[in-house]
């Protein structure tokens, strides 16, 4: 049974999606439990695949029994083994944490919500595990569609328009990716990633291959809201319901970064990416723009969730810039940041979800005196904030460590300055929020022994997952050494020096 893990991890959530949709019509309470069982099963098989990868180096799985260039093949190596585990655990933890807020927001439509949730997770896991370029496009579409559904059903009415803009940009991105694959197909004749990689070296000279590379990149950048294409992300994630945004924010952009790295390292081997295509310098400059712009816009916001979305845009700049530095340290930093940023964003969005669940709003003036009213949630928020700022014991520091050393080795000093500027901006951003939460509501004057408001915390089912994530931030930070040496070092092909 264990050889079937790569197929199981995608099909279990897929089948559960249909069962949940049926359960939505027949007996609504079952939906959540089916979803939990399915995601737990898929998380278990993700860990199984990662263990197999650690033993054998890489795992292949032929769908339908056909050999690779003809049939579809799953190819799991160190890179996507790690991302698989991240996606499945984040989805499972988020599912459990947002149970109460989903029941409160979508009373009678819980069935469709969890169906879309299951399909979103299926799409993400499928993108990460597949070894076939066209299959990746199909799963991209599943993720996109379920994402539109989840984001579109936001509480306030602005969610619809912002999700429609997301739909336009998402479709343009997906179609550009499809076009890029088409260009590759014309020139190489195959759709399997490793097969293309073998055929391409002889064609490095042709303009079509360079065009395919640029078109695919533009498509993936549009999907991950990289700088020139980031317009849709802040509105789409802010007006969405808290459960949907805390699922999509940590995962979709990171999986798209994984797709970009897969494009750079596996399909177009590093030899092509960093030498034939002279893209490193301009892309790193775009990344610098993304980081600076993300930071500045985040400063201007008066709403917690909107501020967090601009920080995501900046973090995307980190990862893209890191990947394009062209040296081993930068790439390690980018891959490590996929793991760290998913955890950090999940922690901070779960906090926002708790606040919205209790205080019905997360604008800055709703946060007054929260340190006393919701100490545990704000405690987790402080840990998440420290991680995003990059304070040592937490994991954020170590990915910044690799990114900055990579930038120094590559001589991209603009990127180093941008990273430091962004850390300083994050300090101001998060301490502004902590300060608002810390100081009593303006009304109560500073009496010596005045009575503190009663502490009304979010329910336990929302707090325990939050603590697990916050503890995870520190644990991942402490075990960075093992993660890097045993997984990420081997994930980067030796084409990069």
């Amino acid at each position: 049974m264990s050889t079937q893990y790569p197929a199981l991890l995608v099909t279990i959530p897929l089948l559960s999606g249909f069962v949940i949709s049926a359960a939505g019509w027949l007996n609504r309470r079952l939906c959540f439990y089916i979803a939990v069982i399915a995601l737990a099963g898929s998380a278990f098989s993700c860990f199984g695949v990662l263990l197999q990868v650690l033993q054998e180096g890489h795992v292949t799985y032929h769908l339908g029994g056909w050999d690779p260039p003809w049939g579809i093949e799953y190819y799991v190596d160190y890179l996507n083994g790690l991302v698989l585990v991240v996606v499945s655990t984040v989805a499972l933890v988020n599912l459990i944490a947002t149970k109460r807020s989903v029941e409160e927001e979508f009373q009678e439509k819980i069935g469709p919500f969890y169906t879309l949730y299951a399909f979103m997770v299926t799409g993400l896991l499928g993108i990460v595990v597949t070894g076939d370029a066209f299959n990746l496009y199909v799963l991209l579409e599943i993720t996109a569609l379920s994402g539109y559904g989840l984001l579109g059903m936001g509480k306030n009415d602005r969610a619809t328009l912002s999700t429609l803009n997301y739909l336009y940009m998402g479709t343009i991105g997906a179609c550009f990716y499809l076009l890029g694959i088409g260009y590759l197909y014309i020139v190489t004749g195959s759709l399997n990633m490793r097969d293309i990689a073998q055929i391409l070296p002889s064609l490095y000279g042709s303009k079509a291959v360079l065009a395919a590379f640029i078109i695919c990149l533009v498509g993936v950048w549009a999907k991950m809201a990289f700088f020139p294409f980031h317009g849709w992300l802040p509105n789409a994630y802010t007006h969405a319901s808290s459960a949907a945004s805390s699922l999509i924010a940590p995962l979709v952009t990171k999986v798209m970064i994984y797709v970009m790295i897969r494009l750079m390292l596996t399909i177009f081997t590093p030899a092509f990416t960093f030498s034939v295509a002279q893209l490193s310098k301009p892309v790193v400059w775009l990344a610098v723009a993304a980081i600076v712009m993300g930071g500045i816009f985040a400063l201007a916001q008066r709403d917690l969730k909107k501020m967090l979305t601009y920080i995501i845009v900046a973090e995307v700049g980190y990862m893209v810039g890191g990947a394009w530095l062209g040296n081993r340290a930068g790439m390690t930093g980018a891959i490590l940041h996929i793991l760290n940023d998913a955890l950090m964003t999940l922690c901070v969005f779960l906090v926002a979800g708790n606040i919205v669940y209790k205080v019905k709003g997360c604008a800055f003036d709703d946060l007054k005196g929260l340190m006393r009213k919701m100490p545990f949630t704000m405690g987790a928020f402080v840990v998440g904030a420290l991680s995003i700022i990059g304070v040592p014991p937490t994991c954020g520091f170590f990915s910044k460590w690799y990114l900055i050393s990579g930038a120094i080795q590559a001589g991209q000093y603009a990127f180093v300055v941008a990273l430091l500027f962004s850390s300083l901006v994050n300090v101001v951003l998060f301490f502004r929020v902590i300060e608002i939460g810390y100081y009593e509501p303006a009304g109560s004057h500073h009496g010596h022994e005045h009575h503190p408001e009663p502490m009304d915390e979010a329910p336990l089912t929302m707090l325990v997952p939050l603590f697990i994530v916050a503890a995870g931030l520190i644990l991942v930070g402490l075990y960075t050494g093992d993660i890097v040496n045993r997984i990420i070092e081997l994930a980067i092909p030796n084409g990069i020096v």
Binding site: L145, D157, R158, L161, L167, T171, I172, C175, L179, Y185
Partner: protein, 134 residues
């Protein structure tokens, strides 16, 4: 000069799909009405379908259904049949196009229910006036 005209004529299917695609892209970016944007999106997707299908064509080849009279053992000459793979891929792309169209129309209806207009600038002005009231 001769061979330039020759290459341009030999690859006319690419120019068609590029123009169609650019029309779709222009409509999506520049048009103000939401439905026109959706129509532009559809043209954009159909252009890519045309591009893929035009790859599969082989001169002098018939549709990829193997004729029964070949019996069981003579070798089938692939040059006689068109390349089936792009058609398979485009079956998927068409279905994706339909799905995205359906969802986009659902969004348009929801926007209309809320703002009872489909012109983007009017919607944005309504949003701006509403945020000022709060």
């Amino acid at each position: 000069m001769e061979d330039i005209v020759q290459t341009v004529v030999a690859k006319y299917n690419y120019w068609i799909y590029i123009t169609l695609m650019m029309m779709g892209l222009y409509a999506m970016i520049a048009k103000n009405n939401l439905i026109k944007k959706i129509v532009g999106m559809n043209i954009f997707q159909t252009a890519i379908i045309l591009f893929y299908v035009s790859i599969g064509v082989k001169k002098g080849a018939t549709i990829p259904i193997i004729k029964a009279l070949h019996g069981h053992h003579e070798a089938i000459n692939p040059a006689e049949y068109m390349n089936p793979l792009p058609h398979v891929l485009m079956l998927t792309a068409i279905v994706v196009g339909v799905a995205t169209l359906g969802v986009a129309l659902a969004f348009a209806i929801r926007v209309y229910n809320r703002y009872n207009t489909l012109e983007e600038d009017e919607i944005l002005s309504q949003i701006r006036t509403k945020t000022e009231e709060i």
